[in-house]
């Protein structure tokens, strides 16, 4: 465990800039879990995530002297992580993703719901469903295209605010909100289909 004073972002950066190995260790101890989780949810397989984490730490160490401090340290690191993962995905054969349009709610010409809407919210409260739904949601996010998945992961899994997410991704806040809303509509529809299937058998 690295020393206490390295828990301060400014001290940590100072020490990284001069290449202090204790600072590298402190950086690793503090961020590896977050970075790995974030990388996993974007690249979706262990070996790619591991390589992405290697790249992220190398970049952070080597670029520590260029970090200006206009944003929080963690948000700079998240940005490097998302960027590294997206670059990595770009080099790969495209993973099949579903078209989000097929899961958007349908409306009639005068803006009414085009199909019946069931209320399954009570059903979800059954404890036994918890694990199963968790798995199902994870599976569904994996099928989302990166554009939506990354926003979804940063806000819902990492719990960041829309402003923080926007800053990390270089998007406007309205763009983040709209992607998040669409991701949730998609997820709501996935859950609806899943739960009504369960009911039929």
């Amino acid at each position: 465990m690295a020393s206490e004073r390295l828990l301060d972002d400014n001290v940590l950066l100072e020490e990284l800039r001069v290449g202090n190995p204790e600072a590298v260790e402190a950086l690793f101890d503090r961020f590896h879990g977050k970075i790995y989780g974030l990388a996993m949810s974007i690249v979706k397989n262990e070996s790619d995530a591991e390589e992405a984490v290697q790249d992220v730490f190398m970049t952070v160490v080597r670029k520590a002297h260029t970090f200006k401090g206009n944003s929080a340290l963690y948000s700079w690191i998240y940005r490097i992580c998302v960027n590294t993962c997206l670059m990595r995905l770009r080099g790969k054969r495209r993973h099949e993703t579903v078209s989000i349009e097929e899961f958007m709610p349908m409306f009639t010409e005068d803006g009414m719901h085009a199909s019946p809407i069931d209320d399954w919210s009570k059903e979800v409260e059954r404890k036994a469903l918890d694990k199963e739904l968790g798995r199902m949601i994870r599976k569904s996010t994996e099928n989302l295209s990166e554009k939506y998945r990354v926003v979804f992961v940063l806000s819902d899994v990492e719990g960041l605010s829309n402003e923080e997410t926007a800053k990390i991704l270089g998007l406007t806040v309205p763009a983040v909100k709209s992607r998040l809303h669409r991701a949730r509509l998609y997820m709501r529809e996935q859950l609806s289909r899943y739960l009504s299937e369960g009911k039929s058998h």
Partner: protein, 166 residues
């Protein structure tokens, strides 16, 4: 307000950021529309379920491997810190030169182009510099202050897209 408009505003409603006059329309509609009532409940439940998602935990052996790797790279960096610094300076210069090159030859991607022009019009230093080269070749290296600004500009671009198209 109809159902379609209501669904569009759900996030604002649940975040409590909805404007008051919309709020009245929203409540009036949902009061008498069963499908929207159900949609709201299930949408809210979806949000709650999604927020319970936990990031994937790092397996112990992966952590050990990664830590060794990172510490090793850290020691290498310390040894050759000057070399890495120089390389970083060169890289930054190249990236900025590529950005300006793409700008003068109209090869910026549409997205970057819009953001770049916004920066140009807002920032007196970069604006003056870009006017001074007037679509011609940029001096190399560009003035440090402009380089710093443009490097920072590159850092804020939307992720996952390259500045130049094609």
């Amino acid at each position: 307000m109809n159902c379609k408009e209501l669904v569009y505003l759900l996030e604002d409603y649940l975040e409590g950021t909805m404007e008051e006059h919309l709020m009245r329309d929203f409540s009036a509609h949902i009061e008498k529309c069963e499908p929207c009532k159900n949609f709201l409940k299930t949408y809210d439940t979806t949000r709650i379920l999604c927020r319970k998602m936990k990031p994937e935990e790092i397996p112990a052996e992966v952590r050990t491997r990664l830590k060794e790797f990172v510490m090793e790279k850290g020691r290498e960096y310390r040894k050759d810190i000057e070399k890495y610094r120089e390389r970083a300076v060169c890289e930054r210069r190249e990236q900025v030169a590529a950005l300006i090159g793409a700008y003068v030859s109209h090869r910026l991607s549409p997205n970057t182009s819009a953001l770049f022009e916004a920066h140009r019009d807002r920032c007196p230093k970069c604006g003056a510099f870009l006017r001074s080269i007037n679509g011609g070749e940029a001096p190399s290296p560009v003035p440090l202050e402009v380089e710093e600004h443009l490097a920072e500009f590159l850092e804020t671009l939307p992720l996952g897209e390259s500045p130049a198209s094609g």
